[in-house]
C-alpha cells in the first residue's frame, strides 16, 4: 500500500502483470471475439468453411424461438437456488466449526471438505444413482428416515429442481464452508465482547456483527460463484438432461447442445454471447452495488 502510493519503485509494475494479461487475451478475449464474430455468421456443420455474414439473424432466432424467457427463468432458478442454499449451508457449518469449544474440529472439517476433494465426475454419477426413484438410497433410505416425501425428477419439475440443487449443494458446500470459516476466524472477538456487554443476544450478534463483517467475503464469493454456477452445466446435464421438457434447461446447457449436438456453431456462439452479456451485466451490478472491487484501487 505505502510503496505504491509513493510511486517511485524502480521496477515497472506492468511487467509483473503482463503475463496474465497476455494469457487472458489469448485464452479469454480472442476466443470471445471470435465467438462474437461467428455469431454474426451462419457457420455450422454445412458451412464449416464457406460461411457468410448473416447479421443479427442468429440473435433474431434466439429471441423468436420462445425458449428465451423460459431459459432465463430456469437459469436464475438454478443459479440463485443453488447459491442461496449452498451459501447458507456453508455459512451454517462454518458457524458450527467456529464455535470455540468444539472438539475434534479438524476431523470434522476434514470429513466435510471431502466432497470438494473428490473427483466430481464420479460424484455426479453416484448422485444420479442415489436419486433413482424408488430404488436410490436417497429415496429409499434417507428421505423416508427424515419423514420427507420422495423425489422423482422424471415426473415433477419441482422435484427435479430439488434434486439438482441439493446435489449441487453437496458438491459445493465445502468451498463455502471453508471461505466463511476462514473469514469468521478473522473477526476480532472483542467485537462480540462489546456487543454482549451491551446486551446483544446470539441473533443480534449474528445479524449486527457477523454478517456485516463478512459482507465483503459474501460479496466476493457470491459474485464468483454466481458466475461459476451460471456457467456450470454438468449437474443438469447428467442428472435431468434439462427435463422434464425444458423445465430445468439453462442457457448454457442449451448453448452446449446447440454447439455439440447440432453443430450449429453460429447459433451456439450467439447463445453464449447473450449469456455472457447477461452475466457481465449482473456481475457489474453486483460489483457496483457491493463495492467489491473498491479495495483494488
Amino acid at each position: 500500500m505505502t510503496s505504491s502510493k509513493n510511486g517511485k519503485n524502480e521496477d515497472n509494475g506492468f511487467l509483473y502483470i503482463l503475463p496474465i494479461l497476455i494469457l487472458t487475451i489469448f485464452v479469454f478475449i480472442l476466443p470471445l471475439v471470435y465467438a462474437l464474430y461467428i455469431s454474426f455468421t451462419n457457420m455450422n456443420l454445412f458451412h464449416l468453411f464457406n460461411y457468410n455474414i448473416v447479421g443479427l439473424k442468429n440473435y433474431a432466432i434466439i429471441f423468436e424461438c420462445g425458449y428465451f424467457w423460459e431459459l432465463i427463468k430456469n437459469t436464475l432458478i438454478w443459479t440463485l437456488g443453488s447459491l442461496v442454499t449452498m451459501m447458507s449451508l456453508g455459512f451454517l457449518l462454518a458457524l458450527i466449526l467456529n464455535q470455540r469449544d468444539l472438539k475434534g474440529k479438524s476431523i470434522f472439517y476434514a470429513f466435510l471438505i471431502l466432497p470438494w476433494a473428490f473427483p466430481g465426475f464420479i460424484s455426479l454419477l453416484i448422485w444420479q444413482g442415489l436419486w433413482v426413484d424408488p430404488y436410490g438410497m436417497m429415496n429409499k433410505l434417507i428421505l423416508p428416515m427424515l419423514h420427507l416425501p420422495r423425489i422423482n425428477s422424471l415426473i415433477s419439475t419441482t422435484d427435479a429442481w430439488i434434486e439438482l440443487i441439493l446435489t449441487n449443494d453437496w458438491l459445493s458446500f465445502p468451498y463455502f464452508m471453508t471461505v466463511f470459516y476462514s473469514s469468521l476466524q478473522s473477526i476480532p472477538h472483542e467485537l462480540y465482547d462489546i456487543a454482549e456487554l451491551d446486551g446483544a443476544g446470539t441473533l443480534t450478534k449474528f445479524f449486527r456483527i457477523t454478517l456485516p463483517s463478512l459482507k465483503r467475503t459474501i460479496a466476493f464469493v457470491f459474485i464468483t460463484s454466481f458466475v461459476f454456477t451460471w456457467n456450470n452445466f454438468y449437474p443438469i446435464f447428467i442428472l435431468t438432461g434439462g427435463g422434464p421438457g425444458i423445465s430445468t434447461e439453462t442457457f448454457i446447457v442449451y448453448a452446449y447442445q446447440e454447439a455439440f449436438d447440432y453443430s450449429n456453431f453460429a447459433l451456439a456462439s450467439a447463445w453464449s454471447v447473450i449469456s455472457t452479456i447477461f452475466v457481465i451485466i449482473l456481475g457489474l451490478i453486483v460489483i457496483k452495488y457491493t463495492h467489491i472491487l473498491d479495495s483494488f484501487s
Binding site: 454474426f40 448473416v54 430404488y135 415426473i155 438432461g241 421438457g245 449436438d261
Partner: protein, 480 residues
C-alpha cells in the same frame, strides 16, 4: 444437399475391376485402389478409432496383421474417440482431421453432407460394396454415394429373463399379459423401459409399430411427420403400461449402466429393450436365464415394432480437412477395406459379439449359430434371437435432418411422461420443435431473414480478428 463447399483436390481414378472381386491378399488390395507395386517410401495414415475397450482387442489383432501385410503403411491410431461427430468437426475446422475415422452412419451422413468425407463410390468399384450386407451398405449411402464401409450392424432387441417370462411374446398383448403375470406373481416389474429418459432411438421402433414414420416428403422437401395418430397411440400405449397398469418401470436411466439394466440384472424386471452391445453385462448377470427375441408385433395395428438398423463404419476424410496426399488416400482405402474384410469382421463378432456387416463374416456367424457351436450353449439361442430381429428393422434415416429429431422428441416425451401434457400436445410439440430446429439450421425454408448489422461493428471485429491471424478470416477481410 450436394457437398458444395469442398471439392476433392484430386479427381479420383476409379480402377475398373472385372470379374469376381478378390481382396484376400495384399497385392489384390493394392490393385483395387490403383497401386501396381509397393510404393518406395512408407506412408503414415492417421486413424480415429471409436471402438469400445472390448472391441479394441479385436481391432488391435487386425491392426497387427495389417501392419505385417502392409509394412509400408504406418497406422497412427487414436483410441477412445467418442461416437458423435463434434470432435471430428472441430479437428476438421482446424484442418487437422484424421485421414480415417470410424463413427455411426448417422454422424457419417451429416459429415458427408457437410462435404467433409470422401464419396467412396468414386474411389472403389461397385463390386466392393456388395461384399457387405445390403442393409448395412444402404445405411451408409445417400443417393448413389457410399460414404463409408460398415463393420457391424446394430439395433435393439427384446431381452427377457426366462425365470419370469415363459416364452418370448410375439405381440404386445402377449407381452402385456406376461408382464401383468410377472407383476402379480413374482412381484417384479414386468417391463423396465425408461421412455422419458430416451431421445427417441428405441421409441422409433414403437412409433413404426404403430404405423408412424419420422419423415415424409412434401414438395420435394423432407419434413418431419411426428405429429400423427401413430405417435399419439405409441405414447399412450407406454403411458398406459406405466401409469394405468403399473407394469412398466419408468426408469430414469437406460441401458446396462442405467437403472433399467440394473433392475434387469438384479432380477427385478422381466423384460427390457436394449442392443447387443450390452449383451455381455446381461449374460454375466443372468447366464442361462437370459433370453433374446425380436420386438413384438403391435397388436393394435398388426405391425411389428421395428427398431432402427444402424451400422457403424469406417470413412475417409476429404483431403482438404485432413491434408492427405493421394498416396495416403490410397493407403486409407486399403486400410478400411482391410478392417472391414471378413476376417476382421468375424474377429469382432467373436470377441465382442458385434453383428458382422461383412456378408461372409455374417454368414459364418449364422452358420456357427445354426450348428450351435457357440459356448456356452445357451448363447446360441440368444444370438439367434438377436439376429432374427435383423429381418424386422427400419432403415436409419441418415439424412442431416435426423440430427434434430432426438432433442425434439426427448423434450416433448419427457414432458409427456412427467404427466405435464397430453399425448396430442406432445406429438404437436415434438413436431413443431423439430421444424423449428430445421428452420434455425437452414434445413427448411424459414421466415428468419438476414438482419442488417452495423458495418462499423463488422469492420471492428474483423480488424481485431485479422490481427490474430486466422487465415480464412484474413481472406474474408480482403473479400469485404
Amino acid at each position: 444437399k450436394p457437398p458444395s463447399s469442398v471439392t476433392p483436390t484430386t479427381t479420383p481414378t476409379k480402377p475398373s475391376v472385372s470379374g469376381p472381386l478378390n481382396i484376400t491378399n495384399a497385392t489384390d488390395l493394392m490393385k483395387l485402389v490403383g497401386l501396381n507395386s509397393t510404393p518406395s517410401s512408407p506412408v503414415t495414415i492417421t486413424v480415429w478409432d471409436s471402438y469400445s475397450t472390448s472391441e479394441d482387442q479385436a481391432f488391435n489383432q487386425t491392426l497387427a496383421q495389417f501392419e505385417k501385410e502392409f509394412p509400408w503403411i504406418h497406422v497412427d491410431v487414436t483410441y477412445g474417440v467418442g461416437v458423435g461427430c463434434s470432435q471430428f468437426e472441430e479437428a476438421a475446422k482446424g484442418h487437422d482431421a484424421p485421414i480415417v475415422y470410424r463413427d455411426t452412419s448417422n454422424s457419417g451422413g451429416a459429415l458427408f453432407c457437410a462435404g467433409l468425407l470422401l464419396n467412396l463410390s468414386e474411389y472403389l468399384p461397385p463390386q466392393v460394396f456388395s461384399l457387405y450386407l445390403n442393409c448395412s451398405i444402404s445405411d451408409w449411402s445417400i443417393g448413389k454415394a457410399v460414404y463409408g464401409l460398415p463393420d457391424d450392424i446394430n439395433y435393439i432387441v427384446m431381452f427377457y429373463n426366462k425365470q419370469y417370462v415363459p416364452y418370448a411374446p410375439n405381440t404386445t398383448c402377449e407381452m402385456v399379459k406376461i408382464a401383468e403375470e410377472v407383476n402379480t406373481t413374482d412381484h417384479v416389474w414386468g417391463i423396465a423401459y425408461g421412455a422419458s429418459d430416451e431421445y427417441g432411438y428405441r421409441f422409433a421402433a414403437w412409433f413404426a409399430g404403430f404405423g408412424g414414420q419420422i419423415f415424409t416428403t412434401q414438395n420435394g422437401q423432407v419434413v418431419p411427420a411426428l405429429n400423427s395418430t401413430a405417435m399419439v397411440d405409441a405414447l399412450n400405449f407406454w403411458y398406459n403400461l406405466t401409469y394405468d397398469l403399473h407394469i412398466n418401470y419408468l426408469a430414469p436411466s437406460t441401458g446396462a449402466g442405467g437403472a433399467e439394466g440394473e433392475l434387469f440384472e438384479a432380477g427385478k424386471a422381466a423384460i427390457i429393450f436394449d442392443g447387443p452391445w450390452d449383451l455381455n453385462a446381461y449374460l454375466q448377470a443372468l447366464g442361462s436365464n437370459l433370453g433374446a427375441a425380436p420386438l413384438p408385433v403391435v397388436s393394435q395395428t398388426g405391425i411389428r415394432a421395428e427398431p432402427f438398423l444402424g451400422a457403424t463404419g469406417w470413412m475417409i476424410s476429404n483431403p482438404s480437412v485432413s491434408g492427405a496426399t493421394p498416396l495416403q488416400i490410397k493407403a486409407a482405402l486399403i486400410f478400411i477395406l482391410f478392417v472391414t474384410n471378413c476376417q476382421s469382421d468375424y474377429r469382432l463378432w467373436c470377441v465382442a459379439h458385434d453383428i458382422p456387416a461383412n456378408k461372409i463374416a455374417y454368414n459364418e456367424a449364422m452358420a456357427e449359430l445354426k450348428a450351435g457351436k457357440l459356448t456356452p450353449s445357451y448363447l446360441n439361442q440368444i444370438m439367434e434371437g438377436i439376429l432374427e430381429q435383423a429381418q424386422y428393422t427400419q432403415k436409419f434415416p441418415n439424412i442431416p435432418q435426423m440430427a434434430y429429431y432426438w432433442n425434439s422428441f426427448h423434450t416433448a416425451a419427457s414432458e409427456f411422461f412427467a404427466q405435464q401434457i397430453n399425448a396430442q400436445t406432445a406429438a404437436q410439440t415434438m413436431e413443431s420443435n423439430f421444424i423449428n430446429c430445421l428452420k434455425k439450421n437452414g434445413l427448411l425454408s424459414s421466415s428468419f431473414e438476414i438482419l442488417p448489422l452495423p458495418p462499423a461493428l463488422i469492420d471492428a471485429i474483423l480488424l481485431l480478428l485479422s490481427v490474430f491471424m486466422i487465415p480464412e478470416i484474413k481472406y474474408k477481410v480482403k473479400a469485404l
